[in-house]
């Protein structure tokens, strides 16, 4: 039942060189079309930015899903911490006067 093109290896453990493990993680962002922002689509490992871009193209835009690609070292991204998500975003909660619906204006005024 063997398939013609398949060879069998000797089963020894797959050697993994130290260099192989050192590739950084890159986050990939795609601009779907002109007029839209770049959107995060996933990540990949690559030795440098150029390879990350090329691999990002093959992994994330095989069907013309993008017109522009960003790759960013995951290490270089600083994110807010979920621990402080309440205190961090709280200041916005009590400033409802930032929304247009806060203001009482007569119903019959147009274009307001």
């Amino acid at each position: 039942m063997s398939e013609g093109s398949t060879r069998i290896s000797d089963g020894s453990p797959t050697p993994t060189t130290p260099a192989e493990r050192s590739w950084p993680l890159w986050e990939v962002f795609v601009r779907g079309k002109r007029g839209l922002s770049h959107v995060h689509v996933g990540s990949l490992h690559a030795p440098d930015a150029e390879m990350a871009l090329r691999n990002g193209r093959d992994v994330y835009t095989r069907r013309q899903e993008g017109v522009s690609l960003w790759v960013v070292r995951a290490d270089d991204i600083t994110a807010s911490s979920p621990d402080e998500k309440d205190s961090f975003f709280d200041p916005a909660a009590d400033k409802i006067y930032r929304h247009p619906t806060f203001y009482d204006v007569p119903d019959d005024v147009e274009y307001l």
Partner: protein, 416 residues
């Protein structure tokens, strides 16, 4: 020619792009979460010694009753899943409880869990195992059809097959990327696959003996995969759900090209029709088995599977029971087989007016477990081939490293 070049690039990605033993603490990937959420996620990342006891079936999670639970699940099964308490001082315990309450509230509201959110350790472990084995299925799934690329009957078929196999590589990469957001490195997952500690869908342990098998795989195997994967687009874990949306978009091409292969053969010579029928005969039952054993009843996997399924459903990882999806698949596929003029190899297959569904026979679950545990026609070959592809790609990875180092040196010199 262009297509072939494109293919080479992605095969390169697949073999090359599995670097990094140490966890890269990518913010978006959520790896840093392990250190920042007290108590709820572990301080230490899962060791490579964890033996998975389930078979990944493209979107469900099948427990092998013969294998022991891993440590995380053992603790949870015994109701001692309080790594929280043992890790944390009293003050942090409170914080952890708050985090878990937040998790429960998100699940109850059918909201998505994102990488840096607090989550129960067992939720994280279940997802790592399920996503990893799903990813393994995608890349091992390249082999049965990859086997026919050089023998495709026309340039058109060859180009299509290359694109299809390339997509499967992409699916694997989307999924490894999603798994990494849970704080595990892809290289470690690949090692678990190579060492036989994690499995892939049993379906890929069957050989592709004729050209028609490529049609049967696209039509039945990708068809069954779609049935399993569509509900996963609403999975509670954000990165997994997003990867599934991407995958599902691409799968419909896979299914249609498979159907078209059989459609063409069935309108061909007598021997072409016989070839198509033979392929349907061999792939029908393994395709039904892809949905996994029944969730309940005699043929269910074992004492733990029911509660495991229940837990996955409660967490929004699993949306439908295995039997439910299997029935949907049969109902969808029988009319397609009739259209093709193929006879499905099941004497018990008949329309049940009362139920409004097709009745069908029993999957051979003994065979299912046998193949899953390693005794299938191609198990050894698949892993050996995978390992060799990885080893043979070593020089490509080294070259990429050398090129990156050289470019960096040049950039530094020109800046100086």
């Amino acid at each position: 020619m262009l297509v072939v070049v494109g293919m080479r690039v992605v095969v390169g990605v697949l073999m090359v792009g599995c670097a990094g033993r140490g966890i890269h603490p990518g913010i978006l990937s959520g790896a840093r979460q392990a250190a920042t959420v007290p108590g709820v996620v572990p301080r230490t990342l899962p060791g490579s010694g964890v033996i998975s006891h389930t078979g990944r079936m493209y979107g469900n999670d099948v427990i092998d009753p013969n294998e022991p639970l891993n440590a995380a699940e053992q603790a949870a099964a015994e109701g001692t899943d309080d790594g929280v308490a043992s890790l944390s001082p009293a003050g942090r315990r409170e914080q952890a409880a708050t985090d878990l309450a937040a998790f429960d509230a998100l699940i109850a509201a059918d909201q998505r869990i994102e990488p840096r959110d607090a989550m129960p350790e067992k939720y994280r472990q279940t997802l790592i195992r399920q996503i990893a084995q799903h990813a393994h299925s995608e890349i091992i799934g390249m082999q049965p059809e990859g086997n026919w690329i050089t023998r495709a009957p026309s340039l058109r078929r060859k180009a299509i097959l290359i694109a299809k196999v390339q997509d499967e590589a992409g699916h694997g990469l989307y999924l490894y990327s999603a798994a990494e957001t849970l704080g595990i490195d892809r290289q470690e997952l690949l090692e678990r696959l190579h060492d036989g500690k994690q499995r892939y869908s049993s379906i890929f342990n069957y050989p592709t003996l004729t050209w028609a098998d490529n049609g049967a795989i696209g039509w039945l195997v990708d068809g069954a995969a779609i049935m399993n994967q569509v509900p996963l687009c609403r999975c509670s874990y954000g990165p997994y759900a997003r990867a599934m949306i991407r995958v599902c978009k691409e799968e419909s091409f896979h299914q249609r090209q498979g159907f078209e292969i059989l459609w063409t053969l069935m309108r061909g010579t007598e021997s072409q029709q016989a070839m198509a029928q033979d392929a349907a005969n061999r792939w029908w039952w393994p395709a039904l088995a892809m949905f996994g054993p029944p969730d309940t009843g005699d043929a269910a996997a074992g004492p733990t599977s029911g509660s495991h399924t229940e837990q996955s459903m409660a967490w929004g990882i699993k949306r439908f029971a295995n039997d439910e999806l299997r029935q949907k698949f049969v109902d969808m596929t029988v009319p397609q087989a009739q259209k093709l003029g193929l006879t499905l190899p099941d004497p018990d297959l008949r329309w049940n007016e009362e139920r409004g569904h097709w009745d069908f026979g029993q999957v051979d679950w003994d065979e299912f477990w046998r193949v899953l545990r390693g005794d299938g026609p191609c198990n050894a070959e698949r892993i050996a081939h995978r390992r060799r592809a990885h080893d043979d790609g070593a020089w490509v990875r080294e070259a990429a490293n050398a090129h990156a180092a050289k470019a960096q040196t040049r950039a530094r010199e020109s800046a100086a």
